[in-house]
Each structure stands twice: as structure tokens, then as C-alpha cells.
């Protein structure tokens, strides 16, 4: 009845969890509340560890009794392991070796405030309960499992993120948005194959209707105190037209996504849901049990009906004529872009600054894809180009040896700096130089390593990355690069349109405004690289990656092709670096460590080599997630490392591999070898 591997695998899992427990993780996480005061990250972790293993073990068996037996075994083994550790902890002083147990003793967290023996018994009872529940859950239908797991996950995630993602949207705003969207969605729900224009029109009108009603209520003060209106609803009073346009648009969006492929339909449907959840927890430092319950129910309802709705939507979508389908897709992407554009206004400085960082890594990921994904050249020193871009902007935008005609700014009388340092550029003048310099240095660094392949290239480029950082840091170059002090301050990019007659003079001084610059950078990078990939050069890269000798025999100019890959790839890093320097308003050599290179390489591989959406997803996961979960900072890098390993074990092609060729097929010599009959003449 118990599966042959259950005990063995549970033991492995228990050992892994025990090692984690020895890092004091349970006590450490207990300082972070998720729901109310009593449910902490530690509780979530415990449920994941004990119940999760039970569920995993239960899943491999058939039938309720067998599932419960397996689940119970799994949970009990893990639970017993933890109990043993607690007993050991109470008997022996482990804190010399495992220092974190001193601050976060295991028993303090896991014994629920009981004495050792009753606490242990309680704990074991809990493990038994979780094992049984896991077995029962595993026995229920897939839809129930999905709903429960999803709701619980969203609830826990919300609880974790509440403190980070506060003041995003007020509840009335969120509800209004959700209502407008839903009304648009429902209006078109039962109509099948209307043209897009018709659909959008109906949706817009229904959204408008919602807007009129809500706006009326708000304007007359029936719903809310007119002095205390949240951001969107206040528009009803301040600027009625804009308010109506927004609501019409929301209705139109609802109508559009009611007839859409499953993925975009589901994605769109979760947006108002997330907004409402955010609205619920707005301005709170932690989530109360009542809020948690509402979130759970909301998510459960949406998830429960999602399969039906999504099937209906994609069914209707498939019945559309081809041009209609294309139009729907295009419009959906426009909506997505629009959401992207208004996002930072709601998300606030912190979330936006995280997004900025994510976008910066997307630019670099797209750039590095040229090297690794297309040309097959493994570059572990990408940070060099990044640093050069940043330093170029820093040197050109502030008084320096370069801009002051070879005189060190410290030797200049501060009053005369403006007269002497005539070379100081604006960001827009310096940016192209940064891109160019990075690209050129990329080519220069590429030359000596042209002949190298694979791992030699990796280690040499890694060396380059370190060389650039150390040169920037070194005392020997202090007059130019500022050594450890770096270069600061650097002005932020300034958009000054007064010279062309428009009264606009805005500095991109904060994370929100620079977000748009990053977005522009990402778009540019994605556009250029996507275009390049389909040109002759792109094909040349791909054939070079497949086999250099054959590529050469086919008339591909290897040197030029390789150097172009180096140059273009580096230029994008320079572009990102330039914005980075200006965003940070200062450059410090310690920002340019090997970890940057590793991050970029990892994110494009996790996302899927050669795939632009992959770079986006990879960056969100590897850069965005750890930043937002800064609370768990002690375990950030540990999770990062483990994620790299696990992701590669489970999805070696990355999460979003490019559609045509998967990574494994692109580097396909090892497969061809198994088919000698095909390959030899």
C-alpha cells in the first residue's frame, strides 16, 4: 500500500528540511507575519514542508486509503525528523556549530509555546493531521485541488507582500475598476462572433454606463465622503471626461478579453482580482484573518470558474475569422502595454524601483541573448560592458578629466567649473556615447578571444569583467575614475522641450519617471534584436553557433560575425549601464561585481535562451522576486542558488524557450551522434 519509494524519498526530504531547520529558518521566518499575528512565514513553511511532502507522497498512490497512508508516512517522517532535532536541541547545545539556532531556537517556534513533551506530541498530532489532509486533498478532483492550492497560495503571497505593496490602490477604486471590467466582460459574454469594433463599442458603452452611474453617485456624495476620494474616483469630480474615458476603456477591455485565447483571457481576468485584493489590504502593515478569508474566497471563486470561462472565451475566439483574431491579439497587446504604462503611477516608488531594476536586467538579458542565445558565445563578463556604459555616462555628464579638458575638477576653483568644464553633456548627448563606447570596447575585448570557444571564452570573459571592475576600483586610475569613491553626483536625465516651443521641462529624477526610459530601452532592445535575428546576420549567428567550420565554409565571415555579436551585445549592456548610472545619480565600482554577470546569464537561461519573452520572465523571477521578498533577505541568495539548480533540473530549456528551436535542439551534436545512419554518408 505504501509506495516503494515513499519512505526513501521522505527521508531525503526530511534531511533537506532538517538542514534548513538548522539554519534557524523557522525562527527567522516567525518574525514575519502573514495573516494576523499568529500565522507567520514560519507557519507557511512548516505547512509546505510537512503537508507538502505528504501531498507529494500521496499523489503517487491510487485510492483514498493508499493516498492517506502515503501522505501520512511522508508527513510523519518529516515531522519526526523535526521532533528529533528539537529533542537533540534541548539535550545538547548546538549553538556553537549552528550559530543561528542561538537566536532562533527551533523549539521556541515549533513547540507552540508548550513544554517539550506536550509540545512534541502536539506537533506530531499536527503532522498526522496534515498527512491525512494531504491524502484527502490528493484524492479530490483536479479542479478542487487547483482551486484550493491557488487560493491558499495567493492568500499566503498576499500576506507576505502586504507590507511591500501597500498604498497601491484604494478599495473603492479597485472595486470600481473591477465592476467596470466585469460589466464589459459579461455584456459580451453571450454574443459570439461580433466584429471587434462592434464588441469594443458595446464594451465601451457598458463601461461608460458604469462610469456614469458610479460617477453620479460619487459626485453627489452618495457613496463616499467627497473630501476623501481615492485617486480614480476623485476624477469623477475633478475631470468627468477623463473619468468616463477610463471606465469606457475598462469596459472595452472586459469585452475584448471575453473573446480571447485562454492565456490572455486568464491573465486579464486575474488583473481586476489582484486589484481588489490589493485594495483590500491597502495601507495595512499586515493582513487580518478576515481579510485573508475574503481573499481566499475571492480567489477560490474566480479560480473555480476559470476553466469554464476560459474555455468559452477561447472557443469563441477560435470561431472568429483570421483577421478578427489578429485584431483581437493586437488589441490585447495594446491593453497590456497600456497597463504597463500606467503601472508605476499606482505601484509607487518602491515597486517601481524594483520594476526599474527588472527592466534594466531585461535590457541586458536581451543584449546578452545576442551573444549566448544567437551566437552561442558564452560570456561571463557581461558586467564589463555594463560598467563601461555607466562610467562613460558618469564621466561625460559630470566634471571630470574628460569634460574639463584634462584638468582634474578638484584642481579647479569651484566657481570656474562651469567655464572650464565645457565638455559636460546632457544625458541625451552622453547616452549614445555610452552605447558606442560599450559596443566598441566589446569589440576590442572580443578580438583577443576570437579563436577561443566554450569554456575558455567563459573564463576569459569572466576575467575581463573582473579586470574592468578592478581597474575602476584601483588607486592607479583614481584621477579619472575616482577609485572607490566612484563618480558622483551624476545628474538625472532631463527632458527639456522648451527649445522646440513646448513648455515641458521635467527631470527623470525618480524611479517612476525613469521607468519610462527603461521601458523605452527595453522596447528598443527587443525591437532591434528581434529584427536582427531574422536578418542575414541573425542567420549567420545561428549557423555559427551550430558549427563554426561549416558556417565558414558557407561563406560566413566568422570574424565579422563574431565581433558584431560582441559589439551589439555589449552596446545593450552599455545602454542599460548608462541609465543605471544616471538613475543612481552616482557610480560606485562595487556595483559591478561578478554577480551581475551571473544574474544576466542565469536569467536568460532560466527564461529560455534566444527568447525575448524568456528574458522578461527570467528577469521578473530572478531579479524582481528577490527584491520584493527583501524581508526574507537572509535566505534570498540561498533561494536564488537553489532556484537555478532546480530550474535547470526541471526545465533545462528554460521557462519560455523560443518557439521554433529548443535549446537542446540548437546544440544538437549530441543528438545527431545517436543517429549515425542519418549523419554519415
Amino acid at each position: 500500500m505504501i509506495h516503494k519509494n515513499t519512505i526513501q524519498h521522505s527521508l531525503y526530504a526530511a534531511i533537506a528540511i532538517l538542514i534548513l531547520a538548522l539554519t534557524g529558518i523557522f525562527g527567522n521566518f516567525a518574525t514575519r507575519t502573514v495573516i494576523g499575528e499568529s500565522i507567520t512565514s514560519s507557519t507557511v513553511l512548516l505547512v509546505l514542508a510537512v503537508g507538502g511532502i505528504g501531498y507529494f507522497m500521496a499523489n503517487r498512490a491510487e485510492g483514498l486509503a493508499a493516498k492517506i497512508a502515503n501522505g501520512l508516512t511522508g508527513s510523519l517522517i518529516v515531522g519526526a525528523g523535526l521532533v528529533l532535532l528539537m529533542l537533540l536541541e534541548s539535550a545538547v547545545d548546538l549553538t556553537f556549530v549552528f550559530v543561528y539556532l542561538k537566536r532562533f531556537p527551533l523549539g521556541k517556534e515549533l513547540l507552540f509555546g508548550q513544554e517539550l513533551i506536550p509540545g512534541v506530541l502536539l506537533f506530531l498530532a499536527l503532522a498526522v493531521l496534515m498527512g491525512v489532509l494531504a491524502g484527502v486533498l490528493s484524492c479530490s478532483s483536479g479542479r478542487i485541488q487547483n482551486t484550493l492550492v491557488m487560493s491558499a497560495a495567493v492568500m499566503a503571497a498576499t500576506g507576505l507582500l502586504v507590507n511591500q505593496v501597500n498604498s497601491v490602490i484604494a478599495l473603492p477604486d479597485a472595486l470600481a475598476v473591477a465592476v467596470a471590467f466585469t460589466v464589459g466582460y459579461v455584456t459580451l459574454f453571450f454574443r459570439k462572433t461580433d466584429t471587434i469594433v462592434y464588441r469594443i463599442g458595446i464594451g465601451f458603452l457598458s463601461g461608460l454606463a458604469v462610469g456614469l452611474v458610479l460617477g453620479g453617485f460619487v459626485a453627489w456624495g452618495w457613496l463616499l465622503d467627497p473630501n476623501d476620494l481615492p485617486r480614480i474616483l476623485s476624477l469623477a469630480v475633478e475631470s468627468g471626461i477623463l473619468f468616463l474615458v477610463i471606465f469606457g476603456t475598462l469596459g472595452a477591455a472586459g469585452a475584448l478579453f471575453a473573446v480571447a485565447p485562454a492565456n490572455s483571457h486568464n491573465g486579464a481576468l486575474y488583473v481586476p482580482l489582484v486589484l481588489v485584493v490589493l485594495g483590500l489590504t491597502n495601507g495595512k502593515r499586515s493582513m487580518t484573518p478576515e481579510q485573508a478569508f475574503i481573499v481566499f474566497v475571492l480567489v477560490a471563486v474566480v479560480t473555480w470558474f476559470m476553466p469554464v470561462l476560459s474555455q468559452r472565451a477561447s472557443h469563441q475566439y477560435e470561431q472568429l475569422a483570421r483577421p478578427q483574431q489578429r485584431g483581437t491579439r493586437q488589441l490585447s497587446s495594446i491593453f497590456a502595454v497600456a497597463v504597463l504604462l500606467v503601472l508605476p503611477i499606482f505601484a509607487g516608488q518602491y515597486i517601481t524601483s524594483v520594476l526599474d531594476l527588472v527592466l534594466m536586467y531585461i535590457i541586458m538579458g536581451i543584449g546578452l541573448n545576442v551573444m549566448i542565445g544567437y551566437a552561442g558565445l558564452l560570456d561571463l563578463g557581461y558586467v564589463a560592458a555594463f560598467a563601461i556604459g555607466a562610467y562613460t555616462v558618469g564621466l561625460l555628464m559630470s566634471p571630470s578629466l574628460l569634460t574639463c579638458g584634462g584638468v582634474h575638477p578638484n584642481d579647479i576653483n569651484p566657481d570656474q567649473i562651469q567655464q572650464v568644464c565645457t565638455g559636460v553633456m546632457t544625458f541625451w548627448q552622453a547616452w549614445p556615447f555610452a552605447i558606442l563606447t560599450s559596443g566598441m570596447v566589446g569589440v576590442l575585448l572580443g578580438i583577443p578571444v576570437l579563436r577561443l570557444r566554450g569554456d575558455y571564452l567563459a573564463i576569459v570573459t569572466l576575467g575581463f569583467g573582473e579586470i574592468i571592475r578592478l581597474l575602476a576600483l584601483s588607486n592607479d586610475l583614481k584621477p579619472l575614475l575616482g577609485a572607490a569613491q566612484g563618480i558622483s553626483p551624476i545628474p538625472t536625465p532631463l527632458i527639456d522641450l522648451r527649445s522646440i516651443g513646448i513648455n515641458f521641462n521635467e527631470s527623470l529624477g525618480n524611479s517612476i519617471s525613469i521607468y519610462y526610459l527603461f521601458i523605452a530601452g527595453v522596447m528598443l532592445a527587443a525591437f532591434v534584436v528581434a529584427r536582427l535575428a531574422s536578418t542575414r546576420l541573425g542567420r549567420a549567428w545561428r549557423s555559427m553557433r551550430a558549427d563554426e567550420d561549416v558556417a565558414q565554409a558557407m561563406g560566413i565571415h566568422l570574424i565579422r560575425t563574431k565581433l558584431l555579436a560582441f559589439g551589439i551585445s555589449s552596446a545593450f549592456a552599455g545602454m542599460g549601464g548608462a541609465i543605471f548610472g544616471s538613475w543612481l545619480q552616482g557610480i560606485f565600482p562595487n556595483s559591478f561585481t561578478l554577480l551581475v554577470s551571473i544574474n544576466v546569464v542565469s536569467l536568460i537561461i532560466i527564461g529560455g535562451l534566444g527568447s525575448i519573452p524568456g528574458a522578461v520572465v527570467g528577469s521578473l523571477i530572478l531579479i524582481g522576486l528577490p527584491e520584493v521578498l527583501r524581508e526574507l533577505q537572509d535566505y534570498r541568495l540561498l533561494a536564488f542558488g537553489a532556484l537555478l539548480v532546480v530550474a535547470m533540473l526541471l526545465k533545462p530549456d528554460g521557462l519560455l524557450p523560443p518557439p521554433v528551436r529548443k535549446l537542446s535542439e540548437m546544440f544538437s551534436e549530441h543528438r545527431a551522434k545517436h543517429q549515425p545512419e542519418v549523419s554519415h554518408e
Partner: protein, 393 residues
């Protein structure tokens, strides 16, 4: 399985390869070599000027070389592991530096326990031996787990995939040790291991109840002034011990690979895993053996390193790991004596370079990596490299 086939299928002479080579030679590499040559000339010029002006003396060179010898020995011991694994799997085992670190850490707990119990003082040699064994066992365990969990399932995957896994494993191990044992350095006790009291009659002497008693040469913690050829040197025997260890272990390893059945199987597996399997060789076991050998060397190196550097931190493996890989490449990766010589070479260059060129010591890594680039320009296969290096990515 990896693309062990590819080098068999290297292009026939007289065809594409020739074209490539001649093209590269005629268009780029001569100017490049010229540039490289100029750079070397410049460096030599700076060094010579430095020496001529009396800023740098032979004495300083010798002193710094001795330090570099020890550091180089450590690099060599780590580099051997890299070279072994690379030779057989064509994979950079990025986490090898962490394997080294693990040895030092677990060794610390062993030696610390023995210090507490007084065993270290009473039976120093035995205690050191046990520490060494514990360190080796720890490194080997970690390496085996690494191979089993992170690398073996990916053996058929494209080259980049195990590299990312290795980087991930490296970060995971580093962070796991950090979270388990804390960020503060653990400090090895200072150990006095006296040897050869008969020969070193005038060392470490003390009056014991009126009589002159000499303990001999302190192999680990000793520090002696020696005047040789008019040079006033300060010598720590442990530096030579490390270098000696590295050489002995390298030779042992070389014999193992050349002479034993398992060693020959390792070479066969390195060449063609499928063909080796068809001979009845258990490829998995041979690969695991390779990891074990590499890890054992790293573990031994780690304990030695910790014995004279005292401090052990979770981050101690990373930089030496990268340096050791550089050393392995310098020597020609896959080449056992090459890895060792590369390690010594790198250690000594790093140690003497900044002073010789009169630049900041911050730039010693620049010297190391610059040297790598120069060598790869002139000898892309490393100093002692062979065909292996021409394998494709």
C-alpha cells in the same frame, strides 16, 4: 552524453580548418600577436626599470615567491579537481571552490573539538591527520552529492545547462554554509608541530630545568629568519609543506590516472562515454570517482590552507575557485601536470607581479587574468595544452 564525438569529427586537414587558420593568421592574429608582444615588452620594460632603479630587489622577489608558492600550491590542488572534471565531462564545476570551502569548515569543527579535548596538544600529528581526513571526507561527500543531485541528471543536456547548475550549486552551498555556521570567520587554532629535533638543533629551544631542550622545526606555525646568499628571508616551513603536498599529490594522481585500471577507465570515459560503457565500464561510477579524487585534493588543500591562514568563512572558496580554474586553463585544461604548474605559476605571478610592476596590489587579479589572455593569444591551448582544448563549445 556530451559531445565527445565532436573532436573525432574535426575537419580534415587541407579543408575548412586550413582556410580558417590561414585566414585568421593573415588577417588578425599577426597584428594581435604584435599587440600582445608589445604589451609583454612594455611589462618587461616596466619591470626592468623597476629593478634597475632599485625599487625591486631579488630579495623581495624571493620572499614574495615563497609566499606565492604556498598560494600556488593551494591553487594547484584546487585546479587539479577542475582539470579532472573538465577532462571527463567538459564542464566547469563552478562549485568546486565551495567543495574546498566545505573541507575547511568541517575540518575546523574537527580540529576545534580536538583542541577542546586536549588531543591537539598531546598528539598533534595524529590530530592533524584526523583533521585532514575529516576535511577530505567532507569535501568528497559534498562533491558526491553535487554530482548525484545537480550534475548527473543533466549529463545529456547542452553545455550551458550544467554550467548554470554549477553556478547555482556554488551559490547554494556558499549560502547554506553561511546560514548554518554563521557569517563570522571560524578561526583554526594555531598549531605547533615540531619535527626533526635532531637536525634543527638550534630551533625552538628553551631552558628546561637548567638543561637546553630543543623541540625542532615547527612545521605549521613556525616562522624562521634565514639568511641565504645575503638575503634576509623569513620562512614559514608550512609554505613549503603546502607546495610539497601539492607536488606529491599531483604525482600520485598522475600515476593513478596513467597506471591503474580505474585511471585508464577515466581516460576512456573522457574520450567517449558510450564506447566506454560498451566496454563494460560503469560510466557513472567512473565519473563519481573523478569527483571524489578532485574533491579529496581540494579538501586536503583546504585544511592545509586553513592551518596557515586560520580563518575560514563561507566565502573563502569562491575567489580561489576562479583563480584555480584560471590556473587550470593556463596549464592547459585536462592536463594534470599542467594544472599544477599553472597553479604555482599563477600563485607566484600574483604574489610578485604588483611589486615587480610597481602597481597597486589591488591589481593582482588583473595581472592574473591579463596573463591568461596573453597566454591564450599565443598558446590558445594553455601552456601544456593538447588537442582537448580545441573541442567545440
Amino acid at each position: 552524453m556530451t559531445d565527445s564525438q565532436s573532436h573525432d569529427a574535426s575537419p580534415q586537414p587541407g579543408t575548412v580548418d586550413m582556410i580558417t587558420t590561414s585566414l585568421l593568421k593573415n588577417t588578425l592574429y599577426n597584428p594581435l600577436r604584435l599587440a600582445g608582444g608589445l604589451l609583454i615588452f612594455l611589462l618587461v620594460y616596466v619591470a626592468v626599470t623597476n629593478i634597475a632603479s632599485g625599487n625591486y630587489t631579488l630579495e623581495a622577489f624571493v620572499r614574495q615567491s615563497i609566499t606565492g608558492l604556498a598560494q600556488g600550491g593551494i591553487y594547484a590542488l584546487i585546479a587539479l579537481g577542475y582539470t579532472l572534471v573538465y577532462g571527463i565531462l567538459l564542464m566547469i564545476n563552478f562549485a568546486h571552490g565551495e567543495v574546498f570551502m566545505a573541507g575547511a569548515y568541517v575540518g575546523f569543527f574537527a580540529i576545534n573539538a580536538m583542541e577542546q579535548s586536549g588531543m591537539l596538544a598531546d598528539h598533534t600529528f595524529l590530530a592533524l591527520l584526523i583533521t585532514l581526513m575529516v576535511g577530505v571526507v567532507a569535501s568528497v561527500t559534498i562533491a558526491l552529492l553535487l554530482e548525484r543531485i545537480a550534475y548527473r541528471p543533466l549529463r545529456g543536456a547542452p553545455r550551458l545547462v550544467p554550467l548554470i547548475t554549477a553556478i547555482g550549486a556554488s551559490i547554494t552551498l556558499q549560502q547554506l554554509f553561511l546560514r548554518l555556521f554563521g557569517p563570522d570567520p571560524r578561526v583554526y587554532p594555531r598549531v605547533n608541530l615540531y619535527i626533526l629535533p635532531g637536525i634543527f638543533k638550534d630551533l625552538e629551544c628553551a631552558e628546561v630545568s637548567g638543561a637546553q631542550v630543543c623541540k625542532g622545526l615547527d612545521l605549521i606555525d613556525g616562522l624562521y629568519r634565514v639568511d641565504v646568499l645575503g638575503m634576509n628571508l623569513r620562512i614559514r616551513p608550512v609554505f613549503f609543506l603546502v607546495a610539497f603536498f601539492a607536488i606529491v599529490l599531483m604525482i600520485a594522481l598522475w600515476f593513478f590516472v596513467q597506471r591503474t585500471k580505474t585511471g585508464k577507465a577515466m581516460r576512456a570515459v573522457a574520450e567517449d562515454k558510450n564506447a566506454a560503457a560498451l566496454m563494460g565500464i560503469n560510466v557513472d561510477r567512473v565519473i563519481a570517482t573523478t569527483f571524489v579524487l578532485g574533491a579529496a585534493l581540494a579538501g586536503a588543500g583546504a585544511v592545509l590552507f586553513a592551518l596557515y591562514n586560520q580563518q575560514v568563512t563561507p566565502f573563502m572558496g569562491f575567489v580561489p575557485g576562479i583563480k584555480a580554474f584560471t590556473a587550470a586553463v593556463l596549464g592547459g585544461i585536462g592536463n594534470i601536470p599542467g594544472a599544477m604548474l599553472g597553479g604555482f605559476f599563477l600563485g607566484i605571478v600574483e604574489s610578485t607581479g604588483p611589486a615587480l610592476l610597481g602597481i597597486s596590489s589591488q591589481l593582482k587579479d588583473v595581472i592574473a587574468f591579463g596573463l591568461l589572455v596573453l597566454i591564450l593569444i599565443f598558446r590558445p591551448t594553455g601552456i601544456f595544452g593538447e588537442v582537448l582544448a580545441e573541442k567545440k563549445a
